[in-house]
Amino acid sequence: MNGAMAAAISCPQCGSPFSFREGTRNALCPSCGTSLAVSGEAGIPRFYLEERLDLPQARSAARKFFAVSGVDTGLVESLRFEKGKLCFLPFWSLKGLTVGWQWMERESVVREELVDENGTKRTVERRGPREQVFETVASPFDFSSPAFDCSAFGLRGIALAGAVLPLRGMDNAELERRGTVYDPVKGVDQVRREALAAARDRSRPDGVLRIRDGIRICAERLAIISYPVWRLTFTAGERMYPVVVDAVNGRILKARFPGCREIRLFAPMLVILVLVYAWTLQRALGGLALFAFLGWMYASRGLSPATLAGFFFRLTERREDISHG
């Protein structure tokens, strides 16, 4: 429990702040010495992690990311920051013990030593009879899972970040003044099912033909932890580019940014050369080449004057947008 997250809450007896570690049930008020049980709605305490980056720092992290991610420097400068929103994303945390049993059937391997007519020894592995094994499962368990669909934010888990950061007791009213607080959508039963499936997967060895188990989670301690991220929006021309920045460590969780510009001289130059060359050979051939080019343009891009002008005179082209996360 030493690496568990600590939360600052005040004692209802004397009003002094005390620290409480996520994953534990009780704490001791250092001022009045009262033992305190910490709980929440339906017995599930809710905490949040304080953001460490403010908006300018998040913007700066996003711009640094653009600079090192192969975005054209000219484009980076043309990106205009539009808005930024702090979001608190809920995650379930389940700690406890997995206890139970598993019965497995697996193939055994029999090694036989053979000696040939020259006296050379060699070892041969043969498939042996199937063996049945019974094992007891008993180990501590720590599980974290998003409490809503946060694929749009690019954040999948918080176990590592949560191990070292201070927690605070959730105060919705206070947090809603600072940003958007997302409510958990996933229910307790679903989290328990997911945790149990994860516990089963963890204790399942490889190379097993048949397996049955009776694994349960005991002494469970559930909590909901809201994690802060910055959702920034940049624009370039009429396009919008969203960026999600981890508000704790400045990591870019998800982003879309404009691709580099490339100079395209080959296609228009080739068309011009072919047309001129065909015209100099024979006028009819030149006309045929011109019709072939116009037919291709009509089929692929259209034949408006703007399209034709764009084909011949727009000598730079932007690559597709690049997505991250």
Binding site: R25, T34, S35, L36, V38, G40, R46, G100, M170, D171
Partner: protein, 208 residues
């Protein structure tokens, strides 16, 4: 109860005498040092729990959930201590009470250095089937109670299977037919002598 934030902080005070209850970080049942009453938080309010104390000498009392149980296997129903001994292939040790009485499952309610130690402690005591005669005494030096009765029920099956002979457990048909039905649990402390990381019970000649 503080309800200013979305987190509830409940001061642990004895509803009987008003004294402070001492509680470790993971305790689920709290014993009042002054009036000896025992409390468990259920839905945010303290509910009284019976805590019994087995006689004997020791410098620490380890709490156990004692659950009378019945088991059904493909070999038949196990509802007596004698039938349980036959299932486990063990010999009667000490005074475990009448052979016709329901066998008891012992599930530790306190933490052990690791979960396998926990299973081992439960297995040893369940195999021994010691007769626990509660005596009136003031609770002192009780190890923290960190497992609820529900947890004991969840751990019960694996502790019980740990007592069964390996040959039986390797049979899938045996496991499939294995059905464990625990009765109402009793929380009881048993005195042990602490020697380093181990606990000894001289009367039962037992080491945990």
């Amino acid at each position: 109860m503080d309800r200013t934030a979305d987190i509830r902080v409940i001061p642990l005070l004895c509803p009987e005498c008003g004294n402070r209850l001492s509680a470790g970080e993971d305790d689920v049942i709290f014993v009042c040092a002054s009036c000896a009453s025992c409390w468990e938080l259920t839905e945010g309010s303290p509910a009284r729990r019976e805590l019994h104390h087995a006689g004997g000498v020791g410098d620490v009392r380890l709490p156990f959930w004692i659950l009378p149980f019945q088991v059904t296997t493909r070999e038949g129903a196990v509802g007596t201590r004698a039938a349980f001994r036959s299932l486990t292939g063990s010999l009667p040790v000490g005074d475990g009470g009448s052979d016709n009485g329901l066998p008891n499952l012992f599930v530790p309610a306190c933490p052990f250095p690791s979960p396998p130690h926990l299973i081992r402690a439960g297995r040893i005591l369940t195999l021994r089937q010691p007769a626990v005669a509660p005596i009136p005494c003031l609770p002192e030096r009780i190890a923290p109670i960190v497992f609820r009765e529900e947890d004991a029920r969840n751990m019960g099956e694996v502790i019980l299977l740990a007592t069964v002979t390996e040959a039986r457990k390797k049979s899938f048909a045996f496991l499939e037919s294995f059905s464990f039905r625990p009765g109402k649990g009793m929380l009881c402390t048993i005195p042990f002598e602490r020697k380093g990381p181990k606990f000894y019970h001289a009367g039962m000649n037992l080491e945990l």
